[in-house]
């Protein structure tokens, strides 16, 4: 219970628009609390530093606020959030690569940023099988890893296909390929 008091009589009679704005802000913050972590984990597949991921997530929710304020569709907000995060992630990475090329060059012939995942991943996992799994995950093609990540976050095939601009068939092939590789690594 909060003890803040308020003189109601002093409130302008037509404060509705302002009140609605406040309610919408709270709704967006509530959605942020639910989806920040899944989005950050997804953005990790872009090989961007965590700070960049956080900034992209901020942009995603500022866009969501504008989207809802304009009366945009509320159906499948989960798909909407991942799609916007995906597009912003691609844009951010493209910009980073361009700045690399302009200033300090990256690895020769490298199209992408190096994946920063190996360190923490290997710290987390113990044992030979776990290390093999980490190696398989790093070796997965980027799109396969994204499919797998989105599926692990609970997205249905249709939502994954919409986010990554793939066909449903391509989504199921990609997931099968990745799971078969992981299963092989566990077998050895």
């Amino acid at each position: 219970m909060r003890s803040r008091s308020l003189s109601l009589a002093a409130l302008p009679a037509a404060a509705e628009a302002e009140v609605c704005g406040t309610a919408l802000e709270e709704e967006v913050v509530g959605l942020f609390d639910c989806w920040r972590e899944p989005l950050l984990r997804y953005l990790a597949t872009f090989g961007l530093p965590m700070a960049d991921g956080e900034e992209i997530v901020q942009e995603v929710f500022l866009s969501l606020f504008q989207h809802l304020r304009r009366g945009g569709a509320r159906s499948n907000l989960r798909g909407w959030l991942f799609r916007v995060a995906h597009n912003l992630g691609l844009k951010r990475r493209y910009r980073t690569i361009r700045s690399w090329r302009g200033e300090t060059p990256g690895p020769a012939g490298s199209e992408w940023l190096p994946d920063p995942a190996p360190g923490p991943l290997e710290q987390l996992l113990a044992g030979e099988t776990a290390l093999r799994l980490a190696a398989v995950l790093r070796a997965l093609p980027e799109r396969d890893r994204r499919c797998l990540t989105l599926r692990a976050e609970g997205l249905r095939y249709r939502e994954i296909a919409g986010t990554l601009a793939m066909s449903l068939g391509a989504v199921s092939l990609s997931l099968t390929r990745s799971l078969a590789r992981i299963a092989r690594a566990a077998e050895r």
Partner: protein, 263 residues
């Protein structure tokens, strides 16, 4: 035509495990799995692979949310203070004031018709349903924080706030002319969770046109009371969560992003 005895492909096993097949094909596959040890073992391997990945994925180390949340709040407040943009912006910039008033009146009329016919209706921005109350006007107020007292007393009857108090709530929200039949003046902290009959604990919650409506909140209130009286949740914490953002609390306690559709 498929050969019933042929082993299933990895793709079909994955599609079946993910519930992405037609009912007829899923039934055929279930039948095959009942009879085939080889395919069952393969399915287990693929499911283990999914579980392994999920475990690693969930363990991705992430910084705490508090600083990022505070930053988002500040930025949202900044944007909210700006003039509205987007597809309704022309209403604010191009039209003569009288025309604008007429347009707003027409939107209000259409919205009212929408309520009476109980058809799904996308509300204009000015009539956006108050899914969560204004934290300024309705921060929430409790009459008790004593769990024993609350849980041993009979369940308070779900009665409406007095008429004059309801009227003051509509006025506070600048909705003195709203149709009272379209809203429940609801307790933010329900009396069954120790909420007070206090204007700081009441807000006009729409019955229709929103996913997050009074019916959904009732379900959350029942769940929280069960948890509190079952000793699984602190009463003050339940009061805090429901008053901070009841939608976020619903998502947390029902572990879902969307409430079930209305029966």
């Amino acid at each position: 035509m498929r050969n019933r005895d042929a082993h299933l492909s990895d793709e079909e096993l994955v599609l079946a495990a993910d519930g992405e097949l037609s009912a007829a094909r899923a039934a055929e596959i279930a039948g095959h799995l009942d009879a085939c040890w080889t395919c069952r073992a393969r399915r287990r391997q693929l499911e283990d692979a999914a579980a392994d990945f999920r475990r690693v994925h969930q363990e991705t180390p992430l910084p705490p949310a508090s600083a990022a949340r505070a930053r988002l709040r500040a930025r949202l407040a900044g944007i909210a203070a700006e003039r509205p943009v987007g597809r309704h912006a022309w209403l604010h910039t191009r039209l003569h004031a009288r025309l604008r008033a007429a347009a707003v009146g027409a939107i209000a009329l259409i919205a009212t018709v929408g309520i009476f016919s109980l058809q799904p209706w996308r509300w204009s921005r000015a009539n956006r349903p108050l899914e969560v109350p204004s934290p300024r006007l309705t921060p929430g107020a409790a009459r008790t924080a004593d769990r024993e007292q609350l849980c041993q007393a009979p369940l308070p009857k779900n009665q409406a706030a007095p008429a004059d108090l309801r009227q003051r709530v509509f006025q506070a929200y600048g909705m003195a002319n709203a149709d009272p039949r379209a809203y429940e003046v609801d307790y933010l902290i329900t009396p069954a969770l120790g909420g007070a009959e206090d204007i700081r604990n009441l807000w006009p919650q729409p019955y229709v046109s929103t996913v997050w409506n009074a019916r959904v909140k009732d379900a959350l209130e029942d769940r929280l009371r069960d948890l509190v009286c079952g000793g699984q949740l602190d009463l003050a914490e339940a009061q805090r969560e429901i008053s901070a953002n009841w939608i976020a609390a619903y998502k947390k306690y029902f572990q879902t992003d969307q409430p079930p559709p209305a029966p």
